[in-house]
């Protein structure tokens, strides 16, 4: 009996040790956050990657040993992946594909969102509650005429409906913090009030660089610009304050 208790104590000490090791790491978040132009995304114990044509699903329960569980052919010219709750929004040059990952290793296609305004474009997408925002860029290889910020109603995820569009110049990535949406555009960083999602109101456009993508993260707006990174304090999300530049 004593032996058993001794073993149990030893085991619990070793557990404690593990916990202590983990806590000594310089950060503690389970996963981080990528931008809207990412091709890699982690949700729970799965890593999702999109190449030009397919979605690959890796089990990363043991993060050092990804196990390829599945691949799904999606279509052509796939560019971006954005995870939101139990959904994946996959942007291509023609449509946004929406997948359910309630069974994480077996994504099921639910629908695709097509804009009536723009037939062919590059479109990173982010989702917020029952709304999805996408920038549809029409210049260069993306085709089309007028670039827009498109707002989709995704209450019925199997039938996304475009509810609003806002003309922009040449948009790239986008991201939101609460009721504010940040859109990277050649005109600058466009700051929209999206309290009423289907009536985005442009508050202002700031230009401290050429913006490509944004990550709103723990009160900081991290911007990928040509040349490096800009950081803004977004404690007041409507009025970003420039903190630093990393080149």
């Amino acid at each position: 009996m004593k032996k058993i208790i001794f073993v149990l104590i030893l085991i619990s000490i070793s557990f404690l040790q593990c916990t202590k090791d983990a806590a000594s790491l310089k950060y503690s978040a389970p996963t981080g956050q990528g931008g809207s132009l990412a091709r890699f995304a982690i949700v729970g114990n799965y890593l999702y990657t999109v190449d030009a044509q397919k979605l690959s699903i890796y089990d990363v329960v043991n993060p050092a040993e990804p196990l390829l569980k599945n691949t799904v052919n999606i279509g052509f010219e796939i560019e971006t992946i954005f995870p939101f709750k139990d959904k994946l929004f996959i942007g291509s040059t023609s449509v946004v594909h929406i997948f359910s990952i309630s069974d994480p290793a077996n994504p099921q296609k639910l629908s695709q969102a097509i804009s009536p305004d723009v037939l062919r474009r590059c479109d990173p997408v982010v989702a917020k509650d029952t709304v999805a925002f996408a920038t549809l860029r029409t210049n260069g290889p993306c085709g089309g005429i007028q670039s827009i910020l498109a707002v989709y109603d995704i209450k019925d995820i199997t039938k996304p409906v475009q509810k609003a569009s806002y003309p922009v110049s040449q948009p790239y990535g986008l991201g939101y913090q609460d009721n504010v949406l940040y859109v990277c555009d050649t005109s600058g960083l466009m700051i929209f009030d999206i309290t009423k999602a289907y009536q985005p109101v442009l508050l202002k456009t700031i230009k401290d660089g050429d913006y490509v993508d944004v990550i709103p993260y723990q009160g900081t707006l991290i911007c990928w610009i040509n040349g490096g990174v800009l950081m803004y304090d977004i404690t007041n999300n409507k009025s970003p304050i420039l903190l630093a530049k990393i080149l």
Partner: protein, 176 residues
């Protein structure tokens, strides 16, 4: 002679086609593959000093750290503990890398077409712990990224295709 005539007919057609090509002096805008040797592509090294960003790429945030890809060059590691003074503390030198994701203390990226995993429990000193080959075709080895384009047919004996370059080609044999 009557028997020969049907044989002559396709010859005439063929000559027409050839004439048309030469009348355009054989030069068309298209894509040609850029090659690298497989050995060069797979060499990953680590630097513990800051380096200037050459061509800024994708970003990733986790805890007090930011990672930024330097397009096709590698990944900058940025300590953001002091938001007003973020500093670069290292660089993963990795050819043809573009993607970043992190779970716990492991960072995932691509080294051209391979999925690679780094242990970043000591974030300034990443360690390569896993490589899964050819699961992420970052650059199409067979075709340029643009449809309906003429291109120089890739020759695998020259190496791995790491990019497609737009330029004037002389009578390119491939098209899609």
């Amino acid at each position: 002679m009557r028997k020969l005539f049907p044989l002559l007919f396709p010859l005439i057609l063929l000559s027409c086609t050839q004439d048309r090509v030469s009348s355009l002096s054989g030069q068309v805008e298209g894509y040609s593959p850029v090659y690298a040797s497989a050995a060069d592509v797979n060499v990953i090294t680590f630097e513990t000093t800051a380096r200037q960003t050459e061509k800024a790429g994708k970003i990733y945030a986790i805890g007090n750290y930011i990672f930024q890809n330097d397009v096709n060059k590698g990944i900058h590691i940025i300590n953001n503990t002091n938001r007003s003074h973020p500093e670069k503390i290292g660089f993963i030198k990795m050819p043809f890398s573009n993607e970043i994701a992190v779970k716990g203390t492991y960072l995932y990226s691509n080294n051209l077409n391979d999925l690679v995993v780094f242990d970043i429990s000591d974030v300034a000193k990443p360690k390569l712990v896993k490589r899964i080959q050819n699961v992420f075709p970052a650059v199409d080895q067979k075709y340029p990224p643009i449809p309906n384009a003429s291109f120089e047919c890739p020759d695998p004996s020259k190496g791995i295709v790491v990019n497609w370059e737009k330029r004037l080609l002389t009578e390119p044999k491939c098209r899609r």
